[in-house]
C-alpha cells in the first residue's frame, strides 16, 4: 500500500506540471483553434530564462537559496516567456491567421523547430544544472511516503496559478472577453471586443504558465536542455485533448490524470510501455467521449 501512495503522490506532482503546460495549449486552442506546437518550446525557454535569471541574481547554491528569490526568478521567467509568446503570435501566427488551419499548424511547427535549434545554438546541447533556488528537503508523510519540499512547491504553485487563472477568466472583463472570443470570434469583434488584443493576452498568459512549469521542472528535476520541451509538450497536448480541448478545468484534470496514469502504468504494468500507455488511455477515452472528458460535444450545424 505504501508503494501505491508513493506512486500516487509523485504522480500528482508530475501531473501538475502537465496540467500547467496543458493550460496554455487549451487556451490558445479555445481562441484560435490552433494547436500551438511551439508551446512545449516556450516551456523550455521559460526554464532557461529562470536558469539565467537565477545565476544573474546569484542564487545557485543551497546557502543563497531563499523563497523570495525563488519567487522573483519565477516571476521574471514568466514575464520573459510571456513576451516571447506575444512575439511569436505577432510575427508568425498573425500573418497566417486568415489562412487554413493546417497552414497555421505548419507555421507553429516551424516556430517550434526554430526555438529548438536556436536553443541548441545559443545554450549548447549539453544539459545544464538548474540552480537550487530553494534548498531541497525530503519530508516523510503518513505511512512512509516520501516527498520533497520541491514537489510540494510544484503542487502548491500550480494550484495557485490554476485558481488564479480560473478567477481571471470568470471574474474579470478581459476574461469575459476571452470567453466571448473563444465562443465566436466574429460576433465578439462585432460587439466591440478588441480581438487582436485579447489574442495577444491569451498568448502572454499561456506562455507565462508554460514558463512557470519550466521553472518548477527545473526545481524538482534540476536538468534543463534545449530539447526538453518536446515530450512534455506532446504529452501535455494529449492531456489537454483528454480533458476536452478548449476547457480549462479539462486541461487540469487531463494533466493530473496523465501524470497519475503514467505512474500507475510503471508501477503495476511495465516501464517499457510508459510512453505508449498514455496514448492508449487517450484513444480509449476519445472513443467513449469523442470530445474529451469535459469537452462540449458540438452538434454540427447543417
Amino acid at each position: 500500500m505504501q508503494e501505491f501512495f508513493q506512486q500516487l503522490a509523485n504522480g500528482i506532482a508530475w501531473g501538475s506540471i502537465y496540467a500547467l503546460i496543458a493550460l496554455g495549449y487549451t487556451m490558445v486552442y479555445g481562441i484560435l483553434r490552433l494547436i500551438n506546437f511551439a508551446h512545449g518550446d516556450v516551456y523550455m525557454v521559460g526554464a532557461f530564462a529562470a536558469y539565467f535569471l537565477a545565476r544573474a541574481l546569484g542564487v545557485g547554491t543551497v546557502s543563497s537559496a531563499s523563497p523570495l528569490m525563488a519567487a522573483l526568478v519565477l516571476l521574471g521567467s514568466m514575464i520573459i516567456a510571456a513576451a516571447l509568446g506575444v512575439l511569436i503570435e505577432l510575427f508568425a501566427y498573425r500573418p497566417v491567421r486568415k489562412s487554413s488551419r493546417l497552414t497555421a499548424l505548419i507555421t507553429a511547427i516551424g516556430v517550434s523547430l526554430f526555438l529548438e535549434n536556436a536553443g541548441i545554438l545559443l545554450f549548447g546541447a549539453d544539459p545544464k544544472f538548474f540552480p537550487q533556488v530553494i534548498a531541497p528537503r525530503t519530508i516523510q508523510l503518513w505511512g512512509g511516503v516520501l516527498v520533497t519540499n520541491h514537489q510540494i512547491t510544484v503542487v502548491l504553485v500550480s494550484l495557485v496559478l490554476m485558481v488564479g487563472l480560473t478567477l481571471f477568466i470568470q471574474r474579470t472583463r478581459t476574461g469575459k472577453a476571452m470567453r466571448a472570443v473563444a465562443f465566436n470570434r466574429d460576433a465578439a469583434s462585432l460587439m466591440g471586443i478588441p480581438v487582436d488584443r485579447i489574442i495577444t493576452i491569451t498568448f502572454a498568459i499561456g506562455s507565462a504558465l508554460a514558463a512557470a512549469a519550466g521553472f518548477l521542472v527545473g526545481l524538482t528535476n534540476p536538468k534543463i536542455e534545449p530539447l526538453m520541451g518536446i515530450m512534455p509538450g506532446i504529452k501535455a497536448f494529449v492531456a489537454a485533448v483528454l480533458g476536452g480541448i478548449g476547457s480549462i478545468p479539462g486541461a487540469m484534470i487531463g494533466g493530473l490524470l496523465m501524470g497519475i496514469s503514467e505512474y500507475m502504468v510503471v508501477g503495476y504494468v511495465s516501464s517499457t510501455y510508459r510512453d505508449a500507455i498514455a496514448f492508449v488511455i487517450l484513444i480509449v477515452v476519445l472513443l467513449i467521449r469523442p470530445a474529451g472528458l469535459l469537452g462540449r460535444n458540438v452538434t454540427e450545424k447543417v
Binding site: 500573418p95 487554413s100 493546417l102 497552414t103 517550434s112 496514448f279 484513444i283 469523442p290
Partner: protein, 326 residues
Amino acid sequence: MRKVVGPLLAIAIVWGIDWAASRALNPYIYRVLVLCSINVMLALSLNLVNGITGQFSIGHAGFMAVGAYASAAYTVYAVPLMFGAHYASSGWLTAAAFVLAILVGGLVSAVAGFLVGLPSMRLRGDYLAIVTLGFGEIIRVAILNIDAVGGARGFAGIPQVTTLAWVLGGAWLTYAVIRNIMRSYHGRALLAIREDEIAAEALGVPTTRYKVTAFVIGAFFAGMAGALFSHYTYLHTNSFTFMKSIEVVIMVVLGGMGSLTGSILGAVLLTALPELLRFASELRLVIYSLLLIVLMIARPQGILGRRELSFRRSRARSAPTPTIAA
C-alpha cells in the same frame, strides 16, 4: 493493349533512369534522389488522406514504420524458408522476394491503416489527429520492445537491395493509383467529404467507408515506402519519430493540399533543402525552420495550391477549387 504497354514502358524508363543515374551521378546525389522518391511516396499517400479526403493525420511515420519492420522481418525470417537460404545468389529470386516483401509491408501497414481509420467514424479534426499521433508513438514504443526486430539496437542483417529504379517505380505507381482514384467517381466522393462531410453524407456518400478506405490506401503506400526504406539503410526506430510524420505533413501542405504534383514538389524540395543548406553547418536547421515560416506566410495555400503542374499548357486538370471555411 495500352494497359500492357504503359506499365512495361514505365518499367523500362525507370530502369533506364537508374542505369544512367548510377553512372552519371555521384553516390551522394543518387542517395538523395532515392530518399526523395521515398518521400514522394509518403507525401502522395498522405495527401490522399489529408489533402483529398480532408482527414487530418499526423502519424504517417507510424505506417511507414509498420511497413518497414514488417517487410524487413519477412525478408529476414520468412524469405530464407520460402526461397532457400541461398536465394540471394540469384538476381531473379532476390527481386521476387523483394517484390513480396514490399507487398507484405504495404499490406500489414494497410491493416494498421484500417485500425487507425476506424476511430474516424466517431472522431473529427484535431481529435482524429491526436489518435493518429498516438498510433505513431505506440508503434514506435512497441517496436522498441520487440527483441526479434532488434529493439533499440536496430534491425541488422537486412539485405540492401533498394535502388533508384525500385523507388522511382514505387513513386510512379503511387502517383498513378492516386491520380486515377482522384479522377474517378470515388475520388469525387472523397473530395466531397473534404469540402463538406455533412452535405456529402446527405447526398448519399457513405462517408465512413470512404474515410476508412482513404486511410487504408494511404497506409498501404506508406508501408510500401517503408519497405523500400528498410531495404536501403540501417533500420532503427529513430527514423520514424513524430518529427518524421510532421515532415510529411509539411511536404503536403507546402506543395499544396490536394495537389498531387504539389506533393511531389514538396517532397523533393523538403528532402533537398536540408542538403542544400549543408554549407550553413550549425545554422542549417535554424535557417530551415525560418524558411518554413516565411514560406507559409508568403504562400499559405502551398506552392501550387490546389492546382496541378503539367508539361502541357492546354490540359489543365485542376480539381474544382471552391472556397471553404476550413
